[in-house]
């Protein structure tokens, strides 16, 4: 009984932590060779409510987004933003953090 109670509390704590963390979205981008030209990417993604932070890595040809908890940014929207910024999406990967 005591053990069951402890497990329940632990489970609640873990689920609370899981809800508090967002999603990491890694986007492979073609044509992103110049920081000056890629400025639009950070500006456009930061304007999205769902986006907490944006990290551009030219050497990895990758844009990493951290989404706010319980929020999502659909793939179609991500592709639209990158197309409007002048680039092409190669792939999109998501994982919880």
């Amino acid at each position: 009984m005591k053990t069951t109670g402890k497990l329940l509390i632990l489970g609640m704590m873990l689920s609370t932590l899981a809800m508090a963390s967002g999603t990491e979205v890694k986007i492979g981008v073609n044509g992103m060779v110049c920081g000056f030209c890629a400025q639009g990417i950070t500006k456009k993604f930061k304007a999205e409510n769902a986006v907490e932070s944006v990290d551009v890595k030219l050497s990895e040809k990758k844009v990493t987004l951290i989404l706010r908890e319980k929020q999502d940014l659909p793939d179609d929207r991500i592709k639209q933003i990158l197309t409007d910024s002048g680039f092409n999406v190669q792939k999109i990967e998501r994982q919880g953090i």
């Binding site: 044509g31 060779v33 000056f36 030219l58 002048g86």
Partner: protein, 212 residues
């Protein structure tokens, strides 16, 4: 001979544009300010990219001609005709044109201009060529050809200062300086870009660009 040379030069510049970098059009809804300054010529652009492949611009130019100072100012339409986004490089072809007012040695008139620009770049090399022609009721047709190659001494990351060493060759037969070969340095950090150089004939050059 001269005409054939210019046509051949234009074709070579266009054919070099397999990959590229872009100024006349930026990301959608971007506003860009560009100023190119040399002793014999200045070129100012204020652009608004209303689409990923199109922008409107207000442009003003100063050119030093044997007849005197030649000023033109006009609205311009910029079109990104083609872009290649590759994993390690980008290339672009732009076409643009506009028409407006002109002033030469205290005489007012009008002028119209068209241009084509092609560029290609990776994180370590850059190549660009452009050709512009301008017609006016005040003077002969003004032609301007420009070609650039550049190398980056290191591959800068997104939040680092990027530096480039470039050589620019310009040809504009109706100006007081018919050509200029200018080694230059380019620095950019985030959304601000600076270029400075001195031509082999001793003419200074100072360029500035930013977008927001």
């Amino acid at each position: 001979m001269g005409k054939h040379f210019l046509i051949a030069l234009g074709l070579v510049l266009i054919s070099l544009a397999r990959v590229g970098n872009a100024h006349p059009v930026s990301y959608k809804e971007a506003i860009g300010v560009m100023a190119w300054n040399q002793s014999f010529m200045s070129d100012y652009w204020l652009t608004y990219s209303f689409a990923p492949n199109a922008a409107i611009a207000a442009r003003g130019m100063r050119m030093e001609m044997p007849e005197g100072q030649y000023l033109v100012y006009f609205p311009q339409f910029d079109w990104l005709a083609k872009r290649w986004n590759n994993p390690d490089s980008q290339a672009n072809i732009y076409v643009y044109g506009g028409a407006g007012g002109a002033r030469l040695a205290n005489r007012d008139g009008y002028a119209g201009q068209v241009g084509i620009e092609a560029d290609a770049e990776s994180r370590s090399w850059f190549i660009m060529g452009k050709w512009e022609s301008m017609w006016s009721n005040l003077t002969d047709v003004f032609h301007h050809g420009e070609f650039r190659v550049g190398l980056a001494p290191y591959e800068a990351e997104f939040n680092e200062i990027a530096s480039w060493l470039m050589i620019q060759v310009q040809y504009h037969p109706t100006l007081t300086k018919k050509y200029a070969i200018t080694p230059l340095a380019r620095l950019f950090y985030k959304n601000v870009l600076w270029e400075a150089g001195v031509s082999l004939q001793g003419d200074w050059m100072l360029n500035f660009m930013f977008h927001f």
